[in-house]
């Protein structure tokens, strides 16, 4: 705003100064004439004679004033201004051309900007911390047998290793952080309304070690970690949304899991923690209370502080100045090899060592590179779209400027220099690119937001300075290219052109036609590549969507409940049993059950080691027998719509005092019992204790994700297990599951007003989210494919229509000589079909290469999928046909007489 005002002032001043200096010059000349006249009068002339003589002696005053004006540098701007006005008039004269160019550019550049800004935020942006180059995420390639980790194996470490690394490594700082729960969020309350907020439990040196300041108050101290103080630092955005940026927020209370925490600080603006996708809203020091166990998991054999084999802490380190990353890593590795085995069986000879690595402190800690790979592929795709868009605009411009050759030669004949023509063409292209750029930026802002929500990245992805720079560079290059590309043909039209017969002059040279053909063929080839890629990915999406889940997620509502006030085993079990009973009574609810890990959420608990009826399971070594487990409530399989093959479902009768029961899936029964008739067999741990009787066998179904292979699985019932802190409630209801939410909220509030519903959603959405990344990728690829087709169709249409219009005279002659209309249509169609065929020939090998790259992203599709190829080729063919049908129709309807008369 200020910049704009300053510019305006400068402009006004320039105008004023220019006027003044012109006046001064006039005055100077006037004075001279006056004095000359006086002199001549002295010599005896009459006043009239003297005036005339003075004028004569002085010469042409107008010319002089003109020179004076031209000598000023503002003349350049005046010229540019004139060119701009002329350019605007030219663009307004051809609104369709302008609109097509601007939209083409906007889509091409906008799509690139959007993908680049996401890629930049995810792959390149560093954490907003001090001296980020000395800061690293700690990763490991594995963990020792007997360690229990969180599912994020690469970034999970046990408390003993954290202590050892901190005390022995000589690293400047070792920061630890632990998410509040599997979702990263925890129930919080500021006023009276319970809600969820994302937070980490962190080490005392978290803020000082990362080098993140505070807007208000303080960060944490070592003492906060050691004493597990109940203080909290909130994020700047949480401060803004919940406290209106009030400065007296310090000292206020934030209830986290019903425990009061005192707010002691507000973190620096823009710092949203180190969890990447999830922007954090609060941080608390490491806590020792059982409800603050790592990841919100129930306390079974101790908390993360006391259970030495619980690998649950994420670590970052800051290396000291003068110590290289490699040296620091080597020292850390030494400590890791010793400390990793604290609390588990000692390392056996021949065990592969687990390797630590230090990863750069980017905003997104790259835990798996599938996302990065998808983003790079997308970038390549939008790059192709941009290439197509550019060649389109160049072709349109060339065609248009070829139509303007007469104008250029008239201007040259009238004395315009080549420099003037070049300046005008550049001005026009800058105008076009500026318009396109403005629309593109708007488009990119929207597209980035859409990309972020599709990819389930809640962090701020909006384009920043770097992205703006990228876009401006692209636009600048485009402006230069579009300005200079048509220059040669414009220049080649000498002033004598205007004198020649326009029909002969308009015959495009064969060289130009060939160059145009190359562009069209390339475009069709690129279009084919994009369409094949889109076909493969959409096929993958279709396969994912129609994969049988083995259950009926439709009509199921799922939400988490944290038992805030229920402590101890009996109390917590009673709480959830009562909750289940209460929810069953809601009208419209068909059945209600509980589950530890939501199906489709990706979470599972993996175990190994079992005996069946006291023997090796089906000849497999007990320790080698791996299986997945989940803890559920009564009626679980009926509620989920999973088929029971043998035996029964869990029921209310399976209480803590009843015989301990479990249910297995068919893979488990076949693999470890040896028969589907597994009911009645007894399963125990390798020592023969913890005996459970199998009461049911259920059909295999998808559990962690849609793409998983069937694995041996077993289910136990929570009423026969340990203390329960949090459960997911699965409710089968009539009608829209989300419509039931208000009623459920009311019922839960009657039980405890402090309890929020955690992540309420439909069970279908849980599964949909599990493939959201693939779905996003496929849909985007589909969008880009369609975009490419539209761009190519307009490009082809423009070029072909232009060519036909140039051949009007020729077609007129042919028809006058007796050619039939169908022949003329065929003549035009044949040309474009030949180009299309050449494009397909060139495109197929490229598409095969691209398919190879995509292979790992496919599910149930081969990279050489014939349907994808055939439909892509058909698509390209249809586009070529449609694009030439209109010009062909026009050519056929040419009246030979008027066509010939026109020239």
């Amino acid at each position: 705003m200020i910049d704009r005002a300053l510019t305006l002032v400068a402009k006004c001043k320039a105008l004023f100064v220019q006027r003044r200096s012109e006046d001064a010059f006039d005055e100077e000349i006037g004075m001279h004439l006056e004095m000359l006249k006086e002199k001549l009068e002295h010599e005896g002339m009459s006043a009239q004679q003297a005036t005339r003589a003075a004028r004569r002696q002085f010469g042409n005053t107008t010319l002089l004033q003109q020179r004076q004006r031209e000598s000023r540098t503002t003349m350049f701007f005046a010229n540019v201004g004139r060119d701009l006005r002329y350019g605007v008039r030219q663009l307004a004269k051809t609104p369709v051309f302008t609109a097509v160019c601007v939209l083409t550019l906007a889509l091409g550049v906008g799509a690139n900007t959007a993908v680049f800004s996401v890629m930049h935020a995810v792959l390149l942006k560093m954490l907003p911390v001090q001296n980020a180059s000395h800061l690293f995420y700690v990763h490991t390639t594995g963990w020792p047998d007997g360690a229990s980790q969180t599912g994020q194996g690469a970034t999970s470490f046990a408390y003993p290793f954290y202590r050892a690394l901190r005390e022995q490594s000589g690293l400047q700082d070792v920061m630890a952080f632990i998410p509040m729960s599997a979702s990263g969020k925890a129930p919080v309350r500021v006023g009276t309304v319970p809600e969820e907020a994302a937070g980490d439990m962190v080490s005392g040196n978290y803020f000082s070690g990362l080098g993140v300041g505070t807007v208000l108050g303080r960060g944490f101290l070592q003492k906060d970690e050691d004493d597990h103080t109940a203080v909290v630092v909130i994020s700047e955005s949480f401060w803004a949304t919940h406290f209106g940026r009030s400065r007296d927020v310090l000292g206020k209370t934030l209830y986290i899991k019903s425990v009061p925490f005192t707010i002691v600080g507000v973190a620096a603006r823009g710092f949203e923690g180190t969890e990447g996708r999830l922007p954090l809203e609060f941080w608390i020091p490491l806590q020792s209370r059982p409800e603050f166990n790592a990841w919100g998991s129930p306390v079974k054999r101790g908390t993360y502080l006391t259970r030495q084999n619980f690998w649950c802490m994420k670590l970052m380190v800051r290396t000291a100045a003068g110590l290289s990353r490699g040296q620091a890593l080597a020292m850390a590795q030494g400590i890791f090899e010793r400390a990793a085995y604290i609390g588990v069986a000692p390392k056996r000879a021949g065990d592969k060592p687990n390797e630590l690595s230090f990863n750069e402190a980017k905003q997104f800690d790259a835990q798996d590179d599938s996302f990065a790979r998808a983003l790079k592929l997308l970038m390549a795709m939008v790059g192709l779209v941009l290439l197509i868009a550019i060649s389109n605009v160049v072709m349109l411009l060339t065609a248009r400027n070829a139509g303007r050759q007469r104008e250029f030669s008239v201007r040259l004949a009238l004395g315009a220099g080549r420099k003037e023509l070049a300046r005008q063409l550049l001005t026009e292209s800058v105008l076009l690119v500026t318009l396109g750029g403005i629309v593109a930026w708007g488009f990119a802002l929207g597209a980035t937001r859409a990309l972020g929500s599709w990819a389930q990245i809640h962090s701020n992805l909006q384009p920043d300075g770097a992205v703006l720079g990228f876009t401006l560079t692209v636009l600048l290059l485009l402006a230069l290219m579009f300005g200079l590309a048509p220059l040669r043909s414009a220049m080649s039209s000498g002033p004598e052109m205007v004198l020649r017969n326009s029909a002969t002059a308009s015959q495009a040279s064969s060289h130009k036609v060939r160059a145009g053909n190359v562009v069209i063929v390339t475009q069709i080839a690129m279009c084919l590549v994009l369409l094949v890629g889109a076909g493969l990915l959409l096929g993958t999406l279709r396969n994912l969507l129609k994969t049988p889940l083995g259950q009926k997620p439709e009509g199921l509502l799922v939400f988490g409940i944290h038992s805030e006030r229920a402590h101890g085993k009996e109390e917590s079990i009673a709480f959830f049993v009562a909750l289940q009973q209460r929810l069953r009574t809601i009208p419209g609810v068909e059945s209600v059950s509980m589950v530890d890990n939501r199906p489709g959420s990706g979470w599972s608990s993996n175990n190994s080691g079992l005996l069946v009826d006291g023997h090796k399971p089906n000849g497999i070594e007990p320790e080698q027998a791996g299986y997945r487990g989940n803890i559920v409530g009564a009626d679980y399989f009926r509620t989920m719509g999973i088929q029971i093959l043998q035996g029964r479902d869990f029921s209310d009768a399976d209480s803590a005092s009843a015989t301990k029961v479990l249910i297995v899936n068919e893979t488990f029964a076949k693999k470890y019992v040896g028969t589907l008739n597994a009911v009645g067999h007894v399963m125990s741990d390798p020592k023969g204790v913890d005996q459970d009787i199998i009461v049911g066998v259920i059909a295999d179904h998808k559990y962690t994700s849609i793409t998983e292979e069937a694995m041996p699985m077993l289910w136990t019932v929570f009423t026969q297990g340990g203390a329960v802190s949090q459960e997911n409630v699965e409710m089968r209801v009539q009608g829209d599951p989300l419509a039931m939410l208000p009623t459920v909220r009311k019922v839960v509030a009657q039980i405890d007003p402090d309890i929020p519903l955690l992540e309420p959603m439909t069970q279908s959405a849980v599964f949909a989210d599990s493939i959201s990344q693939q779905a996003l990728f496929a849909r985007l690829a589909g969008c880009f494919g369609v975009l490419a087709v539209v761009l190519i169709a307009t490009g082809l249409y423009g070029t072909l229509a232009y060519r036909v219009s140039k051949r009007t005279a020729e077609i007129g002659v042919r028809m006058a000589l007796g050619a039939q209309r169908p022949q003329m249509v065929w003549m035009v169609l044949r040309g474009s079909l030949l180009l299309c065929a050449a494009g397909v020939l060139a495109g197929v090998p490229l598409a095969m290469a691209a398919g190879k790259v995509l292979e790992s992203s496919l599910y149930g599709m081969k990279s050489l999928d014939l349907t994808s190829y055939l439909s892509a080729i058909a698509g390209v063919g249809v586009v070529a046909l449609l694009a030439s049908a209109v010009p062909a129709g026009r050519a056929a309807s040419i009246d030979p007489l008027s066509a010939l008369r026109a020239d």
Binding site: M31, M35, F58, G59, L64, S71
Partner: protein, 114 residues
């Protein structure tokens, strides 16, 4: 008439103006025109407007500088004076001119003997 008047030689007006300003100090356009008229003793026909073209050119090259002042008969006038860069340029151009004049003189002398 035509025989006893001659046009100003291309490029020499700048040199003459620079020299005039160097010799006489700050002058306005009219003053320069009068001075050149006197010096030429009516041999040169001077389109007085061209003086200003030359003045503009010299100003752009920073060889002279202009300043508003009051003329001898109490008029507001723009006085031009030679700058330091202008002095250097004058020296260079004077030398050039003398060399060329000398060459031309020698050539002409040659013809007279033949």
């Amino acid at each position: 008439m035509a025989t006893d008047k001659s046009e100003v030689l291309q490029g020499t007006l700048d040199l003459m103006i620079l020299k005039t300003l160097q010799a006489l100090g700050p002058l306005h356009g009219f003053g320069i025109a009068r001075r050149l008229e006197q010096l030429s003793e009516d041999v040169l026909t001077l389109n007085e407007g061209t003086v200003y073209t030359s003045l503009l050119r010299l100003q752009q090259k920073n060889w002279i500088a202009g300043e508003w002042g009051v003329s001898e008969n109490n008029r507001r006038a723009r006085f031009y004076s030679i700058t330091r860069r202008g002095l250097k340029q004058l020296a260079v151009e004077t030398e050039n001119w003398e060399r060329i004049a000398a060459v031309i003189g020698r050539v002409l002398a040659l013809e007279a003997k033949a």
